[in-house]
Symmetry: C3
Subunit: 268 residues, 3 copies
């Protein structure tokens, strides 16, 4: 589909960069996702920080290699912090990732997410229904009705990327990564991952670690999702259920070696 | 004790319904319990959401199959959200569960919990001292002093159920479920479960999943506690300590099959 | 270095006291650390409570055997609760522990931490850069520049302890515990522990459990860190990565017996 598809060797190089640089990733993320996001970042070799107060979020964002804004659990104070941190990130060219959790569910989520969009997130990562809702809220016409939600979401992602000027990722059975012109497919993962809370949020945190160290957001995003999916796939192969999947995923992220990445990553 | 005691086959049917329907359970729960509650709900086949902001909690409650309100970590804003969500649930006949964590410990908790009671929770679940404190705060006379706290708690539960018109569950070595007229005893669980944080809160979340899909709150509550206890018992049998108990419980909830439920559930 | 160095038998006695007494430890700690702190306290035999609201934090602190204040995730409301709970603890001689997470990172953190210091924390526990930042913010002169950060941190810890009149612990490859006059070295732990979020915060919670039951804060702090380090070391020896390290640590804390403590603890 695109000339920009990173090879497995590119993915390994990107992961190796994260581990060597140990980038500081500033997360304003939901209560449920904090623990797993922090542990995923640590297992991947990055350095997480969770800083939410209006009194410090924007100041802290200046120190970060990347900022991850996740609207999973909102409040007016946090929404302000999100805007402040995203604004600083945008102005200072710190890459930032938007995770529009459950954006279509309430009017308040739509408002906060659409307030954040003009600050041009480097990457937006969501599932199909979130990307559809966000693209719709951002003014996308309804277009041809589609019964194929994932095809429809790809179209919405492309339109949304054109609008933000950044990358949009739709994660699901297959992950889609687009910058509005080129579109990549990232395979991997396991259905059992959907039975562990905050896995999508943790994937967004991973994207944060990779955009902090990689020059190219498309490559960074696809690489992050490929590594996360591979670790999840390997963890699921040994897991007896969602409880063991979770800790095995962290062990896999920490232990993944070059050969496993070269053999396991599938991006097209 | 009662004609309403669900058989193991009824419990299995109730659990199977949860897994098939995957009900959306809206939790306003404490920071410590969010992760485990969400993961317990996912492992059990339900779909958890944690939504707390005043700006959206009541709106979101309309979408839910059940609402779980847990006062473990309070603030004035959250107390408002709890009241708003419970009010919507009560008006729209969405079943809702109240978990009055540590209700007797501070005046503030007493106030919030007693403000919630008139909204008629479908189920109240607490430990013996919480149910005693809540029944006392709700105007229960002291009655005959009892050195047997659990017998006293059963009496308090019956009075509290008569007042709310709903079900009250007292969990402990043996769980008691009453609607003020009939009273069930649910056996199961393991003492090691008390060495893992938020296990009681997670049990309340389970009750939320079951009341979302079952017609009868008594059956739903007893079934939820029986399944949770059985999974905990099976997890404890293999666990080397509280760390492994926690993830094994999630694996067990996910993997429990019909035969295990038929053989393992003990309700009288 | 000091006559106060507890023997392994003293450490075991201190741990045994925690398990027998099951002290109530009131934590005002960050969102990321709550789950692990609560589970560490439960695994160690203590009884954790997480209570943050201004409406109840000070009241609750009166009930506690110890209070742990951790500034990891701040807000103005929480800062007030921290001050209120620390003030009550200080007045009523309830031991309290300050964990100045990332204190140097933002102006807001410096302000909150330096507001708390005059309330004379029984123990301050941080890593080298936190203790350096806090001692600096509290008026420490720059002194001789040192390229050896850990030696510099020991000096800062001694000055900080002299100022608070309490104990200061600097955790790292080797943990340092000082009351300004005597200084102990506690060995143990494993580098993999740094790849699990909130391990330092959990160590502070452990210190809370020990100061709640032990008469001597130096002995309590060194014992808590020794037991925590030993459990971490034993967990790491069996762990395949940070995911399994975390639950194994809880299992080890729960299962540690006298012989293991006598054989494994190294304090000088």
């Amino acid at each position: 589909m695109a000339a920009t598809a990173p090879s497995p060797a590119d993915v390994w190089a990107a992961y190796d960069d994260v581990r060597r640089a140990g980038p500081l990733v500033h997360n304003i993320t939901n209560y449920v996702a904090m623990d797993l996001s922090a542990n995923v970042l640590l297992a991947a070799g990055a350095s997480p920080a969770m800083v939410h107060a209006r009194e410090e979020a924007a100041e802290f964002a200046q120190l970060a290699g990347a900022v991850v804004v996740n609207i999973g659990t909102l409040s007016p104070e946090w929404a302000e912090s999100m805007l402040g941190a995203a604004r600083v990130a945008s102005e200072r060219r710190v890459p930032w990732v938007l995770d529009p959790v459950a954006v279509g569910a309430t009017a308040y989520r739509v408002k906060v997410a659409t307030d954040l969009l003009p600050l041009r997130p480097t990457v937006v990562r969501g599932n199909a229904s979130e990307i559809l809702a966000l693209a719709g809220a951002a003014g996308r016409g309804k277009g041809v009705d589609s019964t194929d939600e994932s095809a429809d979401a790809v179209e919405a992602a492309i339109e949304l990327a054109a609008r933000t000027g950044g990358v949009v990722a739709v994660t699901g059975d297959v992950d889609i990564v687009t910058d509005g012109r080129n579109t990549l497919r990232v395979e991997g993962g396991d259905p059992l991952m959907a039975r562990v809370t905050a896995m999508g949020c943790a994937a967004s945190a991973m994207v944060g670690a990779f955009v902090a160290t990689a020059a190219e957001p498309m490559v960074a995003t696809a690489s992050a999702l490929a590594v996360f999916g591979l670790a999840g796939e390997r963890a699921a192969a040994q897991a007896a259920g969602p409880g063991s999947l979770r800790w095995r995923l962290l062990d896999e992220l920490h232990g993944l070696d070059e050969q496993s990445v070269l053999d396991g990553v599938r991006i097209s």
